[in-house]
């Protein structure tokens, strides 16, 4: 009887040892899955530098930054990134001029003024709008918004940055509104109540207590919105034209960094040509731009984080 018991517990110990070592193997496999994220980041950086090194063997970094012409597909190829950066910045500027004011006001309204039921209905709709494929928004920009704008300005070209920027702005409004609203909801209720007790109205409370209190979240929402506009591809590729054009005038057609990458990918350049490899150099610039934005966002949120 006693012997049987010992044997059983020995068996239990063996099985425990087996289960524990199995646990260690599984933990290692799970860790590998977690490392996929690190690996992806490293691979992005490595691939962009590695592939664009071929490009920079033929084009000096100085020409790349200072030349004002971008014509890799022409016989007389010039490789100055400025026109593409200008196009990207112009489209982004139009987009955020729409998205930040509209998104913020909608967020303030939803968070501070809207009845509970309306907010609960609208929030999922805003999140749903974030899932609409961007190629559909491109269709809107080219075939609906541009003709509409042409009725106001008859000499607006068929491809222009204005309509692309406006549609991107409209596209990121739900996103900015939704993230900003979350940030404002996170401001504790007692701060609002303190303000009401001092005789402030809802709007004074919203603008002077809630918005400053939610500043870090709002900054993060704006930065994420800008970063989306900078990286947006299909709307500009469809509606803004694909000719590099050094201008900050939104009514002109121009290519952005992303539109250029699409243009080359669709073309029939041989893969080992400098023209083709130039998309990696363009991608590197795009990644640096979004990286700078993310870093600014990171420090803004740290700098202004309110401790409640």
């Amino acid at each position: 009887m006693t012997q049987g018991k010992t044997q059983m517990s020995q068996g239990a110990f063996a099985s425990l040892r087996y289960r524990k070592s199995r646990d260690r193997v599984i933990e290692f496999i799970l860790l590998l899955a977690g490392l996929v994220a690190v690996f992806t980041t490293v691979a992005i950086v490595f691939i962009l530098f590695y592939e664009s090194s071929y490009f920079f063997d033929h084009v000096s970094v100085k020409d790349f930054i200072t030349d004002t012409m971008w014509t890799p597909l022409f016989a007389d190829a010039r490789y100055g990134i400025m026109p593409l950066v200008a196009g990207t910045l112009t489209v982004t500027a139009v987009a955020i001029l729409v998205a930040i004011p509209v998104g913020t006001i909608i967020a303030i309204y939803l968070s501070e003024f809207a009845p509970h039921k309306l907010r609960e209905t609208v929030k999922p709709i805003l999140e749903l709008l974030g899932a609409v494929p961007t190629v559909v928004y491109g269709y809107f920009a080219l075939l609906m918004v541009t003709p509409l704008l042409q009725e106001i300005w008859p000499d607006l070209p068929g491809f222009n940055m204005l309509s692309a920027g406006l549609v991107i702005g409209l596209m990121i409004v739900p996103y900015v509104a939704s993230v900003s609203e979350d940030a404002m909801r996170a401001v504790p209720k007692y701060m609002r109540e303190g303000s009401y007790a001092m005789g402030a109205t809802k709007m004074q409370t919203a603008l002077r207590v809630v918005v400053p209190g939610a500043f870090s979240g709002l900054a993060a929402a704006y930065i994420l919105g800008i970063s989306r506009a900078v990286g947006e591809t299909m709307v500009v590729a469809i509606a803004a034209g694909m000719m590099a054009n050094l201008t900050f005038n939104p009514t002109e057609p121009a290519a952005t960094i992303t539109a250029y990458i699409v243009q080359v990918s669709l073309g029939d350049l041989p893969h080992d040509s400098i023209g083709y490899q130039s998309i990696f150099a363009a991608g590197l610039v795009l990644m640096l731009m979004t990286l700078v934005l993310n870093v600014i966002g990171f420090f803004l949120t740290r700098r202004f984080r309110e401790a409640y």
Binding site: L30, A33, T41, F113, P133, F140, T233
Partner: protein, 309 residues
Amino acid sequence: MAATALTLEQIRHGLSWRKQLDKVFIAIGLALLFGCLGILAILFFDLVRDGSSRFGWDFFTSFPSRKAENAGILSAAVGTMLIMVVTALVALPVGVAAAIYLEEYAPKNWFTGIIEINVTNLAGVPSIIYGLLALGLFVYQFNFGQSVLTAGLTLALLILPIVIVATRESLRAVPRAIREAAYGLGATRWEVTKDHVLPYSTGGILTGLILGLSRAIGETAPIITIGALSFIAFLPPSPVSGEFPFLNFEWLMSEFTAMPIQMFNWVSRPDQAFQANAAAAGAILLGMTLAMNAVAIWIRYRFRKKISW
């Protein structure tokens, strides 16, 4: 004396003016909210109306064609479905495993911090950058070619942060007490996770996967970058065959086209007739994304109702 300079009348006046401002703000807020939703609703309505002439059996069963009225989305729809299968089969296990590691196993140290920063950061990388990564890595280095496999892997990497974040959230929602009870009975960490934590978070994980796939299905830029063709008049080899071993994986290496690429191709043609095709493809794509989101919301609701702690 100066303190009483404000008369009751003036205070009342100031107050009523400030209350008026409140109402003005509400009006502006409502106008912008419904203005935006309204414009989007009109655009979606127009899209469906422009494409309505093309909806029909032929549109789904025809290959692309030089004549707009003969062109259809057969190869694009099949391509999209195959890519989604690859994406889901890769993103689900890797994403869930990574989330389990971060939530249940990882010690709190700088190393875990690096993984977490990477996940957050990857969510903000523009999708076209993933396309360049895939071109450099999968196409040039691994020689996977411009295939269904390359596209599926690319989109899997793209939606990995979405799956990881959703899974972590649903793992975190499982109360500590359930884990403690299982540990108390002698279960190892993996047994606790597999038998107790995971079953409770299935709903959240599925929701995250479907939301991720609904993002992937509309992604155009990364697939264009790896070099997908827009004129594909054949289907990839069938994954099921009548002869032994009944399954084959040639379709993984097949060239392909996908719904958003087909739509992009039709939009960029100047011919009006093709724009009706683009609208129809866009409406179908939109319908697919909205349907997937609806399913995700329904699953979340079902599981939330079924579980009470």
